[in-house]
Amino acid sequence: MKPIWKTEDRSIIHLNVADFAVAVERAVDSRLKDRPVIIAPEGAARAAVYDMSEEAYRNGICKGMALGRAVRLCRDARILPPHPDRYEHAMRSLLKQTLPYSPLIETGEADGHLFMDVSGSSRLFGPPADVAWRLRRQVKKDLGLDPIWSVAPNKLVAKVATRLVKPDGEYIVGAGEEESLLAPLPIRLVPGIERDDLLRLQEFNLTRVSQFTALSLEQLQIPFGARALFLYQTARGIDPSPVLPMGQKPPKVIADHEFGNDTNDRSFLESILYRLVEQVGDRLRRHRRAARRVAVILDYSDGMRCARQLAARPATANDLTLFQLARRTLLLAWTRRVRIRHVRLICDRLIFPPAQLKLFADEQRQTQKRDNLVVAIDSIRQRFGTQAVRIGRTLAA
C-alpha cells in the first residue's frame, strides 16, 4: 500500500533572523558588530548562555553553556543581559513589515522566525522569491536586521532550507525538490523529529535521512507504530500543515510572576502559584470558560527555561482544582536546584464549562462544595475588593 497525499502547490516564505537576540542588540548598538557577543543574565551565580553571535559560536560557545566556561573560551566577548522586551518589539516590527504581503503569517515566540504563505498573492506582488528578497531588503533598511530567507513548497522544507544557509543567505526550493534537499542531511536537522525518535533511530544505526527513507512505511510501523506515518512523510519533506492566519492563535489565559529575589523556597513558590491560579481562574470565570490544559513555565536564574503541562479532566475554572493541577505541573517542571526567577501559568484549550455532573454523589458533593466556595469568594471580592478575603496560603507570600 502506498499512501496518497493530496497537496496543492504552495509557496511558503520563511524569514529567519539568525541569532535573533544578538541581531536586535546590534541594531541598537552598532559597536557590537563583527565582534563576539554573548547574551546571558547578569548577576546570577551560575548564569547560562541565552544566545550568542556567530563569532562566539565559532569559538565553541553554545546555548545553555555555563557563562563562566563561555567567558574562558572567548575572552574578548561582550556580555549583555537579555532584553526580552527589545526582542518582542523587534518581532512586532518584523511582523509589521510582512503584513502587506499576505494574511497568512505565522510567527514563533520572539525568536526571529516567521512563515508566510504567498501562494495566492503572486498576481499582486510578483513571484515569491521576489517578495522574499524585497522583504529582506526592506527589513535590513528599516530595522537593521538581516534575515535569511527561503521559499519552499511547505513550512518544513522552508525551515530546513534556512538552517542550511545559516548565518546568511537564501534558498529557493522548487516543488519536487523537497526529498532531494533532505536526503543527504543528518536526521537531527529535520524539524519535527524529536529526541525520542532520534534515540530509537540510533538503535537502528540510522543517522542520515537517506538511510531512513530507504525504509518503507510498513517497516517503520513496526518500531514506531502510529508515529510511523508522520516520520515517513517528514523525512520526505511532506508537510501539509498550513501557515496559521494572523489572530487565529488558540486563546489562552496567562499570568506571570517575577521574583524580586530568585527563590527555591517551595512554600513561597506555591503561594505565588496560588495567586497566579486566582488571577487565571478569575479571568476564566468572567469569560465563562473552563480550561482543559494547564502549563507552567519556569525561568531559572541562570537563564534556563523549563515548561511542562498537564491535561485537566474534566475542564475546570475552579481555583482549588486548578491549583492542584498547577502544583503537579510545577513539580514536573521544577527539576533543578537552581533558584527560580520567573514563573508563568498558562491555561488553554478553553471550552464552555462542562455541564456533565459527577456520577457518584460523594464526588458531586465535593465538587459542589468547591464551586460554592469559589462563588462565595468571588461575590465578596466583587463587592468589597480583591483584598477583602484571602486564602491563608497566599498570606505568607
Binding site: 498576481r123 524585497r134 522548487g174 519536487g176 525538490e177
Partner: protein, 276 residues
Amino acid sequence: MNTQTTHNSCRLWVGTSGYSYTEWTDAGFYPPGTKSGAMLPLYARHFPITELNFTWYQMPKVHVLDRMHRQAPAGFRFAAKLTRTLTHEIDPDQWRGQATQYRDGIAPLLQARKLVAVLLQFPPSFVRAPQSRQYLAALLDELDGLPLAVEFRHASWATDRVFAELERRRATLVTVDEPELPGLFPGLDVVTNPELFYIRFHGRNAKGWRSGNMQKQFDYDYGDDELRQWADGRIAKMAPHASTGVIFFNNHVRAQAPRNAVRLIQLLIARGLMAD
C-alpha cells in the same frame, strides 16, 4: 513549433524571462493544476530557450541546475542571470569569491553545452563612473570564458567607447525594449559580439516602471505593429552581424510574455528570419 532557424547563418532563439509563474496557469498558458515542478517540460513544448532569473536571487546550485537541464529536451537552451551580489549588492571584499561560486554553480549547463549566455544586468544606479568602469572590467575578467551579455539600465553607458571595449572582449551588449523614460538606456541595434546578440523586451509601462512592484513594472502587452517594427527593423538589421540571436520577453504579468513571444516568432517566420 520549430523556432530555431537560420538566416544569413544567424540562428534565432525566442523565449521568455523565467517560466515558473503560477499566474501563467490562471492565464491559461499552463493547463489547470500544473505544479511548478512540472512547468519546464510544458514550457519547452512552446519555446526552445529560457532565461533563468532565479539565479539572480540566489547563487546557482549544481544539483538544481543539473536536475533542471535534464528535465528539458536535448535541444533546449538556457541563459542565466548573474547573481545580485555581483550586480546590485556588490561587496568589494566578497565579490571575487561570489564570482567563483557562480562559475561553479553554473557548470552543469556549461558542460551540457546548453548555456547560451550569462546575463549581467546592472541596476539604474550603476552609472558610468571610474569606479563602476573598473568594477565592470574586473568582473568581465573574472568571468572570462563564459558567454557574457551586459545589460545597462543607465543611459551614461551608451557611448562608443563602451561598445568598442565590449567588442574587444567579445561580450554582448544587450538590446532592450523598455519605456522611454529619461535616464534609461536607449534601445539600440549595436552588435558587439559576432557570436551573439541578445534582446530583452521589458514592456513599455512607463507608469509602473519605477513603482517598485514587478507586477506593475512588467505589465504590458505588445501590439502587433510594435512587434512587427522590431522584426522588420532592428532584428532584421542585427541578424546578419551575429551567428546567434536570443530574444526574451520579460513582461510576464498575466502571461503576456509567452503570448507576445509566440506572435514575434510568427512574424519572424513570415519575414523569413526563421524557418517554420
